[in-house]
Symmetry: D2
């Protein structure tokens, strides 16, 4: 075990991020030290990198960033009993209090005082990361390290797709970033009748088709709405999975939703916007779910079960593979829209 390690650190309250040599941490009681093998970059990391208003409010440098990873257990603190050295693992990075109303009623994913590793405390863009035992998720042999680093966003998609009936349903996915793309594959694997994918970026549309979308449509194309209404006999879709956070996409999604349909909203709008809730929710008798994180740990069990069916091909979403030290290049690839998911490996 080395004394120091490479880590991607938000060092200053200003744009940018840097590679630093920092001490390898030591696991306390109930904690697990993981040797990181693969990490993935999330939009949140980009916000931190760019030091936007949200990041300025939430982040307290210095901080090791990153919350999507997988690795191998390198050591356990006292009292750890369910994990041991050498286990291949990923982790839920929402660390919950266990004591609030939500934690005590099976709703820990909306814990009142959640802390997120990589946001509120040191994260995984490093050679080693410390994780509470309760948050460790062991990987079965069938899940390779790179896919293990995608379980956080894949779990968001599982949570969204399975928030209501999906078998035999027609589904529109608005926004085909990584989570939207995963949702397409998940919906198809779970028996969705027809999946319509709507996305502005041509590259992402092409990946949407690879993920199994039955119709891949550009919102700029004025026939998009008409095409979906026709394909659903004028009724509209049963399910809206809103993955963009864009006001126009959200409005289009609700327009396409049938009366009595289900809308699961995951994409986070950057600011309030005008909604016609009379037309889109009330008269429609719609059911709308806000989706936050992953159900702890129901979503994880579901995700592992679905991955083990072999029906989910995650590969098309990984557009780039880099070394951890190339994180600036990775950020730029994402910024430009060229990359969808960048997986990095610490050396």
């Amino acid at each position: 075990m080395p004394n120091t390690m490479q880590a991607v650190v938000k060092a200053q309250p200003s744009p940018g991020i840097e590679l630093r040599e920092v001490p390898v941490p030591t696991p306390a009681a109930g904690e697990v030290l993981v040797r990181v093998q693969a990490v993935s970059i999330c939009g949140t990391d980009l916000h931190i990198y760019n030091w936007d208003p949200w990041a300025q409010w939430r982040i307290h440098p210095p901080l090791i960033v990153g919350h999507e990873f997988s690795g191998t257990v390198a050591g356990c603190g006292p009292g750890v009993s369910t994990v041991r050295e050498g286990d291949r693992v990923s982790a839920e990075m929402h660390v919950v209090c266990g004591k609030c109303f939500h934690c005590r009623t099976g709703q820990a994913h909306i814990c009142q005082t959640v802390r997120i590793l990589g946001v509120d405390a040191d994260g995984a863009f490093a050679s080693y990361v410390i994780i509470p035992e309760s948050n460790i998720w062991k990987l079965p042999p069938s899940i390779p390290a790179e896919h293990g680093s995608l379980l956080d966003p894949l779990g968001n998609a599982v949570h969204s797709v399975l928030a209501g009936p999906i078998a035999a349903q027609t589904v529109v996915v608005t926004g085909c970033g990584a989570i939207g793309l995963f949702s397409i594959a998940l919906a198809k694997a779970c028996g969705a009748a027809t999946v319509f994918a709507i996305e502005v970026n041509a590259r992402r549309r092409s990946v949407a088709a690879e993920m199994g979308a039955d119709f891949v449509l550009d919102p700029a194309d004025e026939k998009t709405e008409e095409q979906i209404m026709e394909a659903t006999s004028g009724t509209g879709v049963d399910v809206l999975l809103e993955m963009s956070g864009h006001p126009a996409a959200t409005e289009l999604g609700f327009t396409l939703l049938r009366k009595g349909g289900r809308a699961s909203l995951l994409g986070i709008p950057s600011k309030p916007f005008e909604m016609n809730i009379a037309r889109d929710i009330i008269f429609k008798g719609a059911v709308v779910h806000g989706i936050n994180g992953r159900k702890m740990y129901e979503t994880w069990y579901q995700m592992e079960a679905l991955l083990e069916t072999g029906k989910l091909n995650l590969e098309p979403v990984i557009t780039h593979r880099l070394k951890l030290s190339e994180f600036v290049k990775a950020m730029e690839l994402l910024e430009s829209g060229e990359a969808i998911k960048v997986v990095m490996r610490p050396e």
Copy 2:
């Protein structure tokens, strides 16, 4: 049986309404003729009276208005088998197609081609009204005629309150018009732990207290939000019943809603407005239901069962009793905010 009858008719495409002598209609096959005993005025009737943009778009004069009523069966068309002369009845005034996806899957309340009697065809503000047999609801002896005329809005409240768990829940009702007031009594009768009523109008607040609200609050009072958060140990309420359609009330309601809470929206905003769905729905993991009409006929069975428990006191909501010929006075009482529910009787 007379040949003609009094009826309140929207005669012209312009503001106002008039009393006319019109022929008593004859029930066709599958139709029931009801002698009207009591009618109540709904906000919709006021829109039609005022000839606002919605009314201009939807209403095709001449039309007998009114959709809240009760009466006695005066005659049956051929083939009617479940109702007979002399039966005391009210009715569901949404007449559905029976053939669309929604009608064929137990969701007739959001039928794709619903027609509403009193809006799209002749209604009940008259001595007699024609109702399809399928829409008749027989009144048990324990329900007096005036209460029978309130089943339409009471049903809206039942649909809202029972759209999710209510027993042992803390509930905020935003907007204490008739449906909001009914919702307070219903929530208490169904085991709600604490009901907070929020309303700008002092008279309605006083009726809210009579209906059983535990806390009656004025949104203009700056301590309202604080008081509710304190009374819920900082967690917020389990259930929001939005009955006002006002943007500010809706926003306040969502602010008060706890993470993972349920919002049932019935009040119809007059136009689109800005919503912070990131904060109020997504991060909260909220579940939002649009509530439209009454479930056909599940809501009606529930409503009758709840009325028969004797736990619901509808009286405080009826603030005025008039003759049908006094409908202009009734409209004015409602317009001024002095009246909550006006019940009228044809002579």
Copy 3:
């Protein structure tokens, strides 16, 4: 249109059945005359053929039997508006009253006074059959006539499989007759993680494998229970689909069900039997659904959507194809256990 037609008739209150020349019926108001193209034999038909105690109690000869079919509309009675001559159709053969509590609350599949065509009134083992318009289900071009004749039992399976969560679940199917076999394919198409099929008959086990079961097991093999417990890490399966009606299979199914699991029971035991509900339901915190018929018409919409995904291969279940006049041979093939589903065609 001929005046007479061939029909398979239960003519006497005694074992057996016969081919007769009978008048082609005329559709009354709201009825549809269908030219039959394919019929399938159900276990119920075998009970009628054998004149067992149930048949003696329920059946009033003379009766044209058969309730699984598809065909082409040959004529419509007055008032029929949603169907026309030449439409390819199948039908829901449960004819409901439309007036009872269940019919009026979206539960028509358990109507209090249901009549079943082919059991309580003339059925489809004939050249022509009369069906109420409301019960007609139009076939899309992608569903061939023979598959159209299987929608009744396929619908039983859809109703069972979708009675609770199925995606990402481990499932045991006890009993691999036609409905059990369809359930295997459906569970897999809807994202089930692992499907265990349990069946005594070797031929059916072989078809279970063709339908996509991950494990096909013989209850006589003493390792069956152990194998399933091992494959589920000692937890047991999430879902039991009981399709046999056999006491031993039912007990084995409940033994395999995990705590908090879901059991959907469709197979009909021939008589009461001993159950350990303390161990199998109460301490387990299990949820048990009785499954009857097909939800009208939610199940039909789901079924069509799932068929159109192309994920369901129904072919392996059809083991024999005969002429309608060979019905005695068909009954014997079924009786012997050699056949699973026999499809017949009127000449």
Copy 4:
């Protein structure tokens, strides 16, 4: 703090129980020491007292028995943060592993390796008891100590009643022991339309009426079934709460259940018995829940909320109040059927 205390101990693997002077235990890390103020006797305690086959299999003497209690915190082990000395408390006595599938998915009440204090480890029939911090439930001032000792069985009733819809429902409770009686009051408080109580013991029937049952019936009376069917217009009841564990009562309950109704089974049959699941579950399309313990901790939040509404009168169920040293007399009172709930106080 004394060094020793009184405790009711199962000392030998044979019938009977004895009062002993034992050391006051010391709370370890994460544990809370509670000074007991009131305890109640459960049927389980009677099984242990009588040393029946279940007790012989499950209990390992010596053991302090008892799991229904309330008291005041007398000391906290290291690391306890949510409770402090002087807090008035009761507790969930199911101590769960926190690591199995069920604990990790919000189903801790069916933990795979639960240990019950008073059954598998020392319980509360003593001056002091040790409880894990996570299991402590703080009592609001409105709940007196004696009622606090009833939260375990009251929670069973809350879990049963709220396992499905209850507002506006007709309900039959079969078996009016303490949990059945609580269920009556809960169902009424939560808006049940009509509650039918069925019980063989006249004293319990009289308490059932005090708890608010609309009809109190003797199963020995041959008109019981007829009366309930009449009162439900021939449809049967919406909800069966089976609280007796008796085969005949269970069968009667299912007979009374309407098609599509909900049966929540809590009473534990002493051995397997014959059930007609074709008639009672499958053709009925019934939904059956096995009820085990209390949902941790959703049920506790619901229970507290319902107690605080003031709608639940628990008093009629407490038929006897004794000193802890009179436990043998208490056991005899229960054995004889004279007592329903006996509350005892340590001196």
